[in-house]
Structure formats: structure tokens, C-alpha cells
Amino acid sequence: MEYVEITKEAEKKGQFAEQMRAFWKVFSIRKIAAFGLAIVCFVILIAILAPLLAPFDPVEDVDYGNRIANPSATHLFGTDEFGRDIFSRVLMGAQVSIAISVSAVTISAVIGIVIGLISGYYGRWVDNVLMRIVDGLMSFPPILFAIALMAALGNNMGNIIVALAVVYAPLFARLVRGTVLSVKNKEYVEAIQVMGGSHIRILFKHILPNCLSPLLIQMTTYFAYAILAEASLSFIGLGVPQPEPSWGNILYDGRQYMLEAPWITVFPGVAIAVTVLGLNLLGDGLRDYLDPRMK
């Protein structure tokens, strides 16, 4: 496999420009991964520009005379039971869904990194205690745990982020701990310890960089999971409260009108599936680039 050599070559040179070149080379060979990257960039761009791109206000522009209207030139994806433009709601939903997922995954990764580094590096009872907590938290299926947390915290956007961050943090902690364990006994780490390098410096400057590749791959995967989780929560009415649009709660609205207005159900679902597909393809590509041995 050609990209394995390209990546190894870049690793040897270790320069940023070289690595970027290797990244593009791998992605130009794995066209499907490049396609994934393009989808993800496109969705993020849409999410950022949503207020400018949306032809109607997704919440305020209610038009009872135009309820559940077919897709047309004015309403590309049709309208819902309040006559609101589905296209605008899907665009703004992208912003909400992406913002929640990015925040949740970033927060959980940061918490996971800190716990994983401490647990793996200090070992002994610290590791034992932290990992039993992590094991306990990982015994809850993610969506169910998120639902239970939402039930306790109440549903608003901030709480969805908190709930998903709590759910995913243990998974990151496990991953980081594993990498720390494989690195901490290496000679160069011992050498720095002997030379009197502080724990903090060793952890963040010498051990953490080794965790970044698997972490980035994992983050892409969990970003996809978080989008699905947010949509699931909103779909059962425990996520983003109405009338704010999110892909999940638009689908919830569409449920009652599946026969007469299938577009309310189809378009947000396509948006979720395409975004998650893009993230999965990107994740596979990143895995080839960052960790060619896993292939």
C-alpha cells in the first residue's frame, strides 16, 4: 500500500510541511477519504453560513396558509405543519447539531486526556481508582446514560453538551491511558526523568503528542456518534427544545405527517446520514494517514 510508505517517509522527516504533503498524498490516493473530508468541510461551512444562506427565518416565519406544502422553488424542502420552511430549518439545524457535537466531543476529549494521562502515568492506586470509575461509567450504554442525565439536568442545549461530554469522556480516558502505558517506559521518557524533567513537562510535551493520532481518529468517530446521539435525544423530545430547529427535532415533527408530508422526514435524515457518512469516510482516511499499521 503506497500510503504506508508516504506516511513513514513523512514521519522520518517530521516537518509540518512534509506531513501536510503526505496528508494530501494519502487523501489523493484514497479518493473516498478526500470525499469524506469534502463532505465534512461542506457541512461545517453550511453550519457557519446558515443564517446567511437560509431564505426564511426557521423559527419566526410561520405561515399557516402554507402548511405542509410540497417542495417547490420557494420552499426547496417544502414546509412543516406551521408553514415554516424546512430548508431553512435544516440549514439552521446543521448549526445547532454541529455546535453541540463539536463542543461535546472537545470537552470530553479534554477531560479524557487529563484523566488518561494521570491514570497511565502515575499508575498504582491512582490508576486503579480512576479506571474503575471509567469502567463503571462505560457500563452504561451511551444513549441511555445521556437520557438519564438529561432527565436529571433538564433539556436545554448546554445540558446536552454536558451529558454527551460525560458519556464520551471515559472512552477518551481509556484510549489515552493505553497510549501512555505504551510510551511511558520508553527510553527517551526515562532519560528525561533522569535529567530532572518535571512530570507536567514529560506528560504534556513528551507523552501527549504520542496520543494525538489515535485521539484525532477517535474524535472523528465520536463526532459522528455525537451527531447521532443529539439527533436521537432531540427526536424523543429530550434534546434541543422546540421551536429551535435541530435535525432530530425536525424529524420528530415529521413523524405525524409521514404519509402526507414525507419531505419533513426525508431531508433532515439525509442531512444526518450524509454528515455521518462524511465523518466515517474521513475517519477511515485519517486512520490510513496517521496509523497505517491499523489498516
Binding site: G136, P141, I147, A148, A152, L153, F235, I236, T265, N280
Partner: protein, 316 residues
């Protein structure tokens, strides 16, 4: 092996302790007075005091926890605040539907995924491989509740082949039972199928590269023997692991799928309890699911023994 089983059982204790602490604390995460939240705005001070007494909320936190844990260990999961039924009774009533749904979803996913993964690995980098991987990718990308909605739209509302909602118990009518669970099981199993296909493919590819496979081929072993008897059996460890890990995903998926298809399982019970602020039931469901999940991990670990006799259970 017996030592390993005992050691593995003991290792579950701290995990279950953490699980119980988290479940216990759920009620205390509720902002303000949990009793007031559960009863709503119209509650009288007397009702509030009664509920606080019933849930033991007026005692110190540690005492509350140990009392609660004691009840849990003796099988008393408390009473529902809405139906006044015991939580354990509610769980027993709801578990069969959820378990049936999960089993069918698992069956569908394995029946689709293992052959697809094998074809994909054996015909590596051909159209067959690309086709199978495309199906798997769609599987992991389509949210199961959306798949459920599309299945209802197509097969219930338009074609009328399957009922769109409801559930019939297997003891009442087997055919109707299967008819009602077919679409939800497909919606749930499709995602799992995608994950298992990808794992089967990569695991098979890894094994097919090994020297002993070349040796069997050199000795004149037919492709059928090589693939089914040797490669597949040796690929089973990661496949079983991924099925085990994703059991949690299925348990989570049932919540939304049961809601869409109105199946009276524990997922639907959880959602209803959340809306009713019925915290004892929420705690019961979450605890029950986590315990099932921990037991499944145990079973997965023990299944390794069959598929990989090389693992030494007396070590570590």
C-alpha cells in the same frame, strides 16, 4: 478456567459499585429539591414531606446511599410514582419485548454481516468488496430511528406489508409477534450489521495473510475449508468483541426504536418515565440495563475461551 471465572466475577464488584453510585446520584443531580420536581408545581407541603420521607431525601447523603443500596441488593427497586407498581415488576413486564427486539436485531445483523464481510475479504479490492463496504458504510451512517421511519413509510404506510406500530407477545401468536418486530429489528440491526461487516472484513483479511493459511492451501485444502473452517474461526475473537461492545449500542438504540414503533419495552418505559419525572423507574431501568451490559461483557470474555484456546486464563 474456574479461577479465571471467579476472578472475573470479583472484578465486577467495583464496576457495579460505581454503577450504583452513579444511578443513586442521578436523583441528586436534579436542580433544587428532587421531591418538588417529581411532584410538580401543584404539590402541597404535606405531599412534599411525604415523598421526601418515602425516598429518604431528608437523611444525610451517605445514609441515603447505603439504605438505597441495601434495598437494591435485596431486589427492592422501589415503587413507580405514577403507576404505584413495583419497579421490578415493571421491568419484568417490559424486558421480554426489548430482549426479543435485540435478539432479532442481532440475528439480522449477523446474518447480513458475516457473509458480507467474508465476501468482502475474499474478493478484496474487487467490485464485490467495494459494494459490500458501501452497504456497511450506509449501515453505520444511517441513524436507526430514521431507518425506522423510512421502513414505516415504505413497508407499512405505502405497501401495507407490516404493521407500523404495536407488539404481540410470542406466547400469544408467533406469526404476529414476528410481523410486529420485523421492521424495528431491521431498523436496529442495520447499524450493527454495518459495524460487524467492517470488523469481519478486516479481521478476515488479517487472518488470510497468515502463514498457516498458506500452509493449508499448499496442503491442498479447498477454499471452503480455508475460509470457513480456519480463517473464519480465527477471525471470530474481534468479531465477538465488537458484537459484545455494540450490545450497548443496541440497548441504547432500542429506546428510540421502541418509541417509534410503540413497543412496550424498557426503552419506551424509560422515555415515559423521563416525561413523568418518575425517578425511581428511571433509576431502575438504567441500573437494570447497566447490569445486563456488565454481564454481557462477562459472557463475551468467557466466549473467548471457545474461540481462542491459546488464551491462558491462569495468568494475569
Amino acid at each position: 478456567m474456574a479461577n479465571y471465572v471467579i476472578k472475573r466475577l470479583f472484578s465486577m464488584i467495583p464496576v457495579l459499585l460505581v454503577v450504583s453510585i452513579v444511578v443513586f446520584l442521578l436523583v441528586h443531580l436534579v436542580p433544587g429539591d428532587p421531591a418538588a420536581v417529581m411532584l410538580g408545581a401543584e404539590a402541597t407541603p404535606q405531599q412534599l414531606a411525604e415523598l421526601q420521607e418515602q425516598l429518604g431525601l431528608n437523611k444525610p447523603l451517605a445514609e441515603q446511599f447505603f439504605n438505597w443500596l441495601g434495598h437494591m441488593l435485596s431486589g427492592d427497586l422501589g415503587h413507580s410514582l405514577v403507576s404505584d407498581k413495583e419497579v421490578l415488576t415493571l421491568l419484568w413486564e417490559r424486558l421480554p419485548a426489548t430482549m426479543a427486539l435485540i435478539m432479532y436485531a442481532l440475528l439480522i445483523s449477523v446474518v447480513i454481516a458475516i457473509p458480507l464481510g467474508i465476501i468482502s475479504a475474499v474478493r478484496h479490492n474487487t467490485r464485490w468488496d467495494y459494494g459490500a463496504m458501501l452497504i456497511a458504510l450506509i449501515g453505520v451512517s444511517v441513524p436507526n430511528f430514521w431507518a425506522g421511519l423510512l421502513l414505516i413509510m415504505t413497508f407499512s404506510l405505502h405497501l401495507g406489508w407490516f404493521p407500523s406500530t404495536g407488539y404481540v407477545d410470542v406466547t400469544q401468536n408467533l406469526w404476529k409477534h414476528l410481523e410486529h418486530l420485523a421492521l424495528p429489528a431491521f431498523a436496529l440491526g442495520f447499524l450493527q450489521a454495518g459495524i460487524v461487516t467492517r470488523m469481519t472484513r478486516s479481521s478476515m483479511l488479517e487472518v488470510l495473510k497468515q502463514d498457516y493459511i498458506r500452509t493449508i492451501r499448499a496442503k491442498g485444502g479447498t477454499e471452503k475449508v480455508v475460509i470457513l473452517k480456519h480463517a473464519l474461526k480465527n477471525s471470530m475473537i474481534p468479531i465477538i468483541t465488537i458484537i459484545g461492545i455494540n450490545f450497548g449500542l443496541l440497548l441504547g438504540g432500542t429506546v428510540v426504536v421502541e418509541t417509534i414503533f410503540s413497543i412496550p419495552g424498557i426503552g419506551q418505559l424509560l422515555v415515559q418515565s423521563v416525561f413523568n419525572r418518575d425517578y425511581p423507574v428511571i433509576q431502575g431501568v438504567i441500573l437494570c440495563v447497566a447490569v445486563i451490559y456488565v454481564l454481557i461483557s462477562l459472557v463475551v470474555d468467557l466466549l473467548y475461551a471457545y474461540f481462542d484456546p491459546k488464551i491462558d486464563y491462569n495468568e494475569g
